[in-house]
Symmetry: C2
Subunit: 301 residues, 2 copies
DNA sequence: CAGAAGCTATACAAAATTGCATATATGAAA
DNA sequence: TTTCATATATGCAATTTTGTATAGCTTCTG
């Protein structure tokens, strides 16, 4: 335990944590392997603990390293946010805005909206982080997030943009081979497309539709875009946003009355970013477009 | 706008923001003034913007510098939190815990509790941050906070430890000179001790007791400890926690029926710190002791 | 108005960090 | 088992960063 930890050392630490070896981290960071090694060594001496056990095949993080990792990662995301903020200074809408959204949203819904946004603001740069993990806006992992859950953190600006209607769908060709079920019970005889790991969302959905459980799924993937692809390929019956499915005439709604779920959707932003024109412009654009998108009566009744 | 911002440069930036000059920052950081100057210059070049306008008497932060300051400050508090976390690794309860509490709490209530905590855990170090500003646990400005408001952030472990009863008190000598008021209306003729600036807490308190407004206060200070001191010196009538006042036989409750306010009190901690023994031990100790403290029927009826 | 006390900026030497080249160890595959 | 690929560690030179000393500027004060 010495006087101060060098902040630069933490970048090397993060690199090693991420890549599992000094050499790999060095390649990623654009410095040399001896330097990374010395950084890790200096950090260990400065913190007074061992961060990695030198094993035969690379470096294995100790419990302490795992414990400290989130702190260092937080510093990195803040540094990147600072960089984004700096690039946007000055008048006008410019710089980079980082948007976090679920995979389906990011791949199917947002692209045209972002295209039109970029047409009005040519100097705007967009980073789209597609993950179903809820990113931490307070830790500045993203500037703006599109979420299917109400934000519970204060210090966030949040706008409700409507509810995404989710229904069951199947491809026309699948239904030609397997006649559409007429009751929930008949779903058992069908190939259901669903999730692999259990999530809070799934648990809540299952309360409403007990049939929609893991054991019933014939095909499982955690990627909702993967589910869309299976659906479009005629693999079976799966859940899909109605507004999305209505774009593809080959997707037919199944059991429209029995299965219907609404996902309240929110656009959220860190309060501090209100003074940033790039973020407010993007925020309001997304609010406007998503409101329009979600107000479409997706499934033909 | 170059490739990457050097993290170390940000420390110098923070120093200059805090001290207003290269020389002052250099003294505080333990490096030399030319180095700080070069750091700031490098940072400006790397971000592609001017951070300070070189004025006659030191450096004046630009709008951009003010905008970027919270990011850099966030990195610093995270770095300090990392340091605390590192110092506590290994088995046993050791390392530093940073506790945020209001001034009265920190000065009057917590000290004996922390003393007993340190007696059981000699290797534990305590940092007590006394401020009425609500510190941001998510930004790791503190590990544990004692608050008079329910936490609204998720990702926090929170425990309700009771309600602090607040009543009006006056010193025995003051009451000897000025007979105690028998009705709220009579308060007008007394020297009231109250707050200077308006806070959310004050606004909510005023809804219950309209007499308790800024214009009525003969003595104003934002420091609640200062209010206690004025109270003890017999300056007038002021609000005080009942449990606290009951320790001083010279403090007499005034209008016990008409004035009574309860402040729900919470101990909160960042979720991630659950795996840290120093934090959980401190957390539970505070919960236990504060629960006992707040369950004392403070004012003799 | 002179001079002291702040401050920043720069030249040059000292110290530190870094990269390069290389030695060495280990696991996987021929 | 040998060989290859990949890993970490270290000596040494090159580069970069830092500190020292100093010059120049502004403000405040007697």
């Amino acid at each position: 335990m010495k006087e101060e930890v060098g902040w630069e050392l933490l970048r090397s630490f993060l690199g090693v944590m991420q890549h599992g070896s000094l050499s790999g981290a060095a390649r990623a960071l654009g410095i040399t392997q001896p330097t990374v090694g010395r950084h890790v060594h200096a950090l260990e001496r400065s913190l007074g603990l061992t961060l990695f056990t030198r094993s035969r095949t690379g470096l294995l993080p100790t419990e302490g390293a795992l414990e400290l990792h989130p702190y260092a990662a937080g510093m990195r995301s803040t540094a990147e946010a600072l960089r984004r903020a700096a690039s946007s200074l000055g008048s006008g809408v410019r710089g980079t805005v980082r948007i976090s959204a679920s995979e389906v949203m990011g791949m199917e819904v947002l692209p045209p909206m972002l295209t039109s946004l970029r047409q009005s603001h040519g100097e705007l740069r967009i980073e789209l982080v597609m993950t179903n993990r809820v990113q931490d806006l307070l830790q500045r992992e993203a500037d703006i997030a599109v979420r299917m859950a109400a934000p519970r953190q204060e210090a966030l600006v949040a706008r409700h943009v409507g509810a995404a209607v989710v229904g069951l769908y199947a491809h026309r060709e699948y239904l030609a081979r397997h006649p559409a079920p007429q009751s929930p019970a008949e779903l058992q005889r069908h190939a259901l497309i669903g999730f692999d790991t259990d999530t809070p969302f799934l648990r809540s959905a299952r309360r409403a539709f007990p049939q929609w459980n893991r054991a019933a799924f014939a095909m499982r993937t955690d990627s909702d875009v993967g589910q869309m692809a299976l659906l479009r390929a005629g693999c079976g019956i799966g859940a899909c946003q109605a507004a999305l499915a209505s774009r593809d005439p080959n997707l037919i709604r199944v059991l429209p009355r029995a299965f219907r779920y609404e996902l309240d959707t929110w656009v959220t932003m860190h309060e501090d970013l209100r003074s940033s024109s790039r973020c407010t412009v993007t925020f309001h654009h997304l609010v406007r477009e998503l409101t329009a998108y979600l107000s479409v009566r997706g499934a033909r009744p």
